[in-house]
Symmetry: D2
């Protein structure tokens, strides 16, 4: 990736001329950037050719703001599947707009982009500190959600009619692409509309975002499933516990769950190919030596082993074959043929995990993410997402964030740690 | 049920002639019974005909004990599916034998009745306060388990060879029937073998046992699933959360989970018949009025609506059709035909629940259950289970406990409370 | 206690002539009673002298109700210290009034009896299914609370002015005595006012109430403290973990916490006297043999060992000396004198426990308690509390409930179980 | 800080000539460094003067190792107060030595440095995968701990006599200074002893260590206390919840707990001075406007407001005055004088937090920390700690880690976020 990619200009609505009402806080100055790289070697390359190493704009409150809080109207929308922390982020945005800037009119659009579409006629909710003060104590999203995009012109009509100045959009790639489209259509029309994305992906697979909200809660909760699988596996002769976890294209949840519960013996992710024979041989060997096995498989792993469904969901994502059932049946068949008497228990905790309340640490993360989104919007940034990079909050152009999925590097330290922890063969092809 | 059924003599091995080593504790005297009935009306009937109302022998330490602790050898075996609290009970038995009576030789048979069979050659584990002191902090069973019975004569040979005086058997009906067979074979051979059952049924469906261990943990944990279902249901237009819970013949877990999380709108149990049409109409009505619905279904509900599988598991239980998948598909088909656009999420938390550690309250219950089992065995009782009745621990002959399954009374206060909570139609036929 | 005491007539407001709007539920008929006794022996005494054994009126919906739901106005008030489940009970009352009977006007009085007093001018809250639907997910009470009684005539003036038909009062003895005074003053004035108490006592010390709400959550949470104490005790040479738990006059929480966490070695409760010397000798012996000790002490234990404070709190309760600090210092002094190098950690989790959300099982209990209270009020009962006895919900005259505190019987099976679990000397005087 | 400080050579025992037995993992090459800085501006300075920016040696497995695993003997020691994750780290070290390198002899020294001293005669524990496999499921340390250092020569005698090759020392500054002393004495004697520190500080106050293990669990658990405080505060007129949290010299736990539970209204830390008058005025204002307040105070805050105790603990730390009791009494006195009727509840959860099991995310962190420590030791590094910096594991000389305490920067973004969250005055002097 070239440096220029990263030092991308963040889109702005224009000149800032109103002073921020916050007192006693540290304002970020323009030009403060967080380094993209964290290793010496990578930096040295830039040094040697006298180039500035790439960085990301630092998030945080600006001394001068773009919007006049007293007349500003803001909107929030949540799209796609549930993810722990949605309500925390909604609450943080409402509280920050209200208490940090004095913005009094905040609307929650219902059921994702449907709420911006004239077709559905969903009434927006008024969001105030009173109505949102305890919403972070429950999972899900108080706004409701839906999959799929709506007509962009129609959505911008709604925003124009309601005179919305900042739209906060919580969602994954599809949602963020929609946010870009809205931002550009608004600019075409000359509207003063800031569109700030908050990347929501339980799979933690958005580029230029080191950690997405809800991920930590997800891997923490996944432990309940791997723990159960381990109890079932050790509670029987040749016990096998098989857990399917989220991860369509990127296996971060599955891989991290191994570090969280190091009693897992096999981890299968989309990024690392394996053959059925390679895996079954390794499993058989483990059963022979240890009498039980715990397997974690990401939903997107081993898709090449199954016939393709050809279907797509409302968001346009290809429907994957069910690797969990596939592996369960393949293991049972194989062991039956080998005359090995096994006891296999299959666990799929997906929807319990997705609808959880954020755990305390994630909740703090959501708070700062929400604050950062508000600061960015108030300063007139648009067409960008708030991100977290090397322990700091940053701004990233949406274009960059949706450019490619973030994936596990099979040759990097993270996957190496997983292999060290499971003890599984590095290559099961 | 006749009074005589309940005032059943508990089987005993013979005269007690050794004094209990415990000091400062309250000894139970022979003849102390807990009333079977708790309502005035039921008792009045006995009063009027001058009959003694039925009761159960009170559990607890006896002043005179049957076995000499210094030479006694005991065994513990866990059979069938996992259930929260197995390790708590094992630990309580080991601790009570050791600290209350000074018994030094306690063996854990591995993998259920397989561990008593010569065929499998599993080595028993030595169980001491040191090796069991923290086992209650994990779910599952440290002994392992298996389904199905083994040859009775072969198992009694093992017990005879190992000179076991008390066998503690944790399991459901099948296991308890096996325990009776072992006890009777031992008596036939003139062996001094006490067989004490500890009823294990996550479904809470054993007769003459008001509450079985693990049940409370199960319904507590079920809340995570119903809560998730509620978040998913309210997070979408026409959202439906469908949760399948344990309950083959008795719907106690499903029904109790409604009281635990009163956001559930429909509860389907094996004891209350319904037709697909009746249920779907009620569901449609709910969606029209409230826009979302949460459904809890016990695994044994609605079996008459599906084709029968005809298969049986290793314990000999008929394999049920999967009512969860059946309902999921039936709801989707129906709504598609009606042109209602729904978002249905299906959750089956079964194995996560079964393998949990007992919750604190359940843990206390397991402790007292284990102590009661030891006191019964030391006093020379046999062919019985320890039970809990009207807040007290009691003795029940195995024959009585396995006589019939305990079920929800569709006309009783408990089911009435469920109906009051869900607001579902009392009759969906 | 004489039978007549218990078969006490529950106070009623008059004849019932309106039909309950509930359908499909089981109605309780007048004359249905739950037996007070549960042991055969106690019942036999009554049998022999041809007397009816004592019982309690069964709670539940009645076919005929006293109030006309369409015009009825109800009030709820919460008094005294926090207890897990207050919001659950409030919610259950609101939901039952609304959905079971169609009552539309329910008011929450703020900050305990202050909210009924003209002096404070607190505005009551309107309580609806919408405003209370998720309040059970948080601890505390949404109504606020306060200690102490207010002028009875003034409170009845408020109720009369607001035309309240049923007042639900959640609180301990003092509150219940106030409820009786209100009920009697209203009857004196000829008002149709039903006053239904819901006994709130985290100590579980109200007579004729087998289990009070919040108790189970409290003992579950106490485990975190005893567990911490055990970790600290075993993490050091001569480690001592000392935990003070709630229990002013009755040691149920402390005693039950021993069954919940059987790693506790000493349990000190108000009902069982001990001397400092007796206790310290036992402790020293334990340290010599095992190298660590965990002690649980109820706040009301050993009050005779300390100088009396002579102070009272706003509820009129005598302020106790702090047995926790007293024991901590006494142990340290003693060990210093004996030259034993100890590491003592002191834990007082009181306010964390009191402000918790009810746990799932307790939540179900609160639901049924709230329903029972509404059914009792709608049927025109007054001056009574809803209770739980032998697994059923019942009605008890307030006079009886506040007649004396329920205490641990030092010669009963419960304390005997505690002694069996800790292994502490039965007598430390 | 000069670059040279950080590019400090990590001490090594000598030439590496044995090949690592691990296969399929990514080996770290010498010269791989993690950048110390993460902001563009800081790096630009180095660029302009052509200097290499400072960095830390990357942790991880090396291809060539220093010790021969077949004959190596290792020791582990845990010192100071309890901290969540101690058992996780112990387990990770044992597992890594065993499974990654084949080391078979690992000893646990008991009760901190006492276990290395001839004076106490504590027998070391043998640590194997079997004996440590489930220790991470409980809090505390299975090895026991103690405060204070022991005679260095005596400790090295023990290590020499036992022929220990790597000593892993888990502890805070005092412990790490002891580790340096041991390492240097060993080098003086020409022993091949690697001493690897694992920084243990629940306060997260060790320099060059971005996050210490147990910290995340601590702030997560602190939420229970702040949540309780909030319930108590809102449950009464002029309710005040006061929570004292750990933090002797650095207020990270208190400050982070505000982000975790944004219902906190005041956060007092050692790094930001305040006067009693300034604080009480702000509190009074809050009570007047909002009717309740939640306060979090770090144990080391406001020490200048109290008389000094002059005492020191066994580790040599000055005993602080109790700011919790001091503030509680000061608030009560002040409000009494002002005629404001308050209800204040004081919560000190310290020992419950310290003795917790690590939460799932922390547990993963401990695993990688333990692996990193083993890799460092096997590669012959010594006199260093394993650290975490910008999401990667690194090596830091002990000298650097103990050079100064890490503190909150009152002008940095972290404290600014806290101020934005509480809304408290930036200056209460």
């Amino acid at each position: 990736m070239a440096a220029t990619d990263l030092n991308f200009e963040i889109a702005r609505l224009g000149a800032c001329n109103i002073h921020s009402p916050m007192s006693g806080v540290r304002f970020v100055r323009d030009g403060e950037h967080v380094l993209y790289h964290s290793s010496m070697k990578e930096i040295e390359g830039y040094l040697q050719c006298n180039a500035a190493p790439p960085g990301m704009e630092l998030a945080g409150p600006r001394e001068k703001i773009y919007f006049d809080p007293s007349s500003l109207r803001c909107g929030i929308v949540t799209c796609g599947g549930l993810c722990p922390g949605l309500n925390d982020v909604i609450r943080a945005i409402v509280m920050s707009l209200h208490f940090h800037y004095g913005v009094r009119q905040v609307y929650g659009f219902r059921f994702g982009y449907e709420g911006l579409s004239s077709k559905y006629n969903h009434e927006p909710m008024e969001l105030t500190p009173e109505t949102t003060s305890r919403i972070h104590e429950t999972g899900g999203t108080i706004l409701g959600s839906s999959r799929g995009n709506q007509d962009v012109a129609d959505m911008v009509d709604t925003l124009e009619r309601m005179n919305i100045g900042i739209l906060f959009a919580l969602g994954g790639d599809g949602t963020l692409r929609g946010a870009t489209a809205i931002s550009r259509e608004a600019q075409r029309r000359g509207l003063k509309l800031s569109v700030i994305g908050i990347p929501k992906t339980i799979d933690n697979d958005i580029s230029y975002v080191q950690k997405s909200f809800g991920f930590e809660t997800a891997v923490s909760e996944a432990k309940r499933a791997t723990y159960a699988a381990h109890s079932e596996a050790t509670g029987a002769r040749n016990g096998i516990g098989l857990v399917k976890l989220m991860g369509r294209d990127s296996g971060f949840i599955a891989a991290y769950s191994v570090l969280v519960d190091s009693q897992v013996n096999f981890c299968l992710v989309p990024e690392v190919a394996f053959t059925l024979t390679g895996f079954l041989e390794a499993l058989e060997k483990r059963l022979r030596h240890r009498g039980h096995a715990v397997i974690v498989v990401a939903e997107g792993a081993g898709q090449d082993l199954m016939p393709q469904t050809g279907e797509r969901d409302a968001s346009g994502n290809v429907k994957y074959g069910d690797i969990g059932f596939f592996l369960r049946d393949a293991i049972k068949d194989h062991c039956k043929k080998q005359g090995v008497d096994i006891s296999l228990k299959y666990i799929d905790p997906s929807y319990i995990i997705r609808s959880l309340q954020a755990n305390p640490h994630d909740s703090a993360f959501c708070l700062l993410l929400g604050h950062s989104a508000v600061h960015a919007g108030m300063a007139g940034r648009t067409d960008m997402v708030v991100s977290n990079w090397n322990q700091q909050f940053t701004h990233v152009p949406i274009e960059l964030a949706v450019s490619a999925r973030k994936k596990i590097d099979p040759h990097g330290w993270f996957w190496s740690s997983v292999l060290q922890t499971t003890g599984q063969p590095a290559d099961m092809r």
